[in-house]
């Protein structure tokens, strides 16, 4: 299967700071998604982004499929941004997840 690596594994931010999360994948993929897992375990869709750039409020994401990576940008972070961020790639109708970036935003 495809290997998906996320970095950094852990991140602590002061409220208001910006951050960049990275997702590298080992082979060509059809699709890529970013998720946020809240403290109750629910996975929330952030972006469906097989290529290009998308923005949604304070969050944006860029995928460069030819170079096999995606970036998730969080600007002006808030305490409610805390949780684990996962990227998942799809190939051959299977989805492969990274091990996540655990983000803690401190007031």
């Amino acid at each position: 299967g495809i290997q998906v690596e996320q970095s950094p594994p852990d991140l602590i931010l002061q409220e208001g700071a910006n951050s960049t999360l990275r997702c590298n994948f080992s082979d060509s993929v059809n699709n890529l998604q970013w998720f946020h897992q809240n403290p109750w375990g629910q996975l929330i869709n952030l972006f469906y982004i097989p290529s290009g750039t998308k923005q949604n409020g304070r969050l944006s994401a860029t995928t460069v499929a030819t170079e096999r990576y995606s970036l998730l940008y969080i600007s002006s972070s808030q305490t409610t941004d805390s949780g684990v961020y996962f990227c998942a790639v799809e190939s051959g109708n299977q989805f492969y997840f990274g091990t996540g970036t655990s983000l803690t935003v401190i007031p």
């Binding site: 299967g1 996975l43 469906y48 996962f86 998942a88 109708n93 299977q94």
Partner: protein
């Protein structure tokens, strides 16, 4: 809005019991998936299904089986639960080659 529901949020079972986890989606999605999530290991795919009565093994199918008799419902079965199956179980659905939507998860403890 897509809605994926799972039958239980928390479940405690004894070793050797047969366990059923149910997942229902309301968006007429073709694909449905079962994952387990363990600390440090991320999400790992157990089984997925493209259509009714179709199933495919994921990365870790051992000890599990699945059933999809109706398009909206996908069940995960632990034939004889063991303590190493204590985990968070997550169900997801998607339309073909599009984004996945997840249910709230079931925290299963096997004692």
């Amino acid at each position: 809005d897509v809605k994926v529901t799972q039958s239980s949020r928390y479940l405690v079972k004894r070793t050797g019991e047969k366990v059923f986890l149910e997942c229902v989606q309301d968006m007429d999605h073709e694909n449905m998936f079962w994952y387990r999530q363990d600390p440090g290991l991320g999400l790992r795919l157990i089984y997925f299904s493209y259509d009714v009565k179709m199933k495919e093994k994921g990365d870790i199918p051992e000890g599990y089986s699945v059933s999809r008799e109706k398009k909206e419902r996908f069940s995960l079965i632990l034939e004889s639960a063991s303590t190493n199956q204590t985990s968070m179980y997550l169900c997801a659905s998607s339309s073909r080659r599009y984004e996945q939507y997840f249910g709230p998860g079931t925290r299963l403890t096997v004692t």
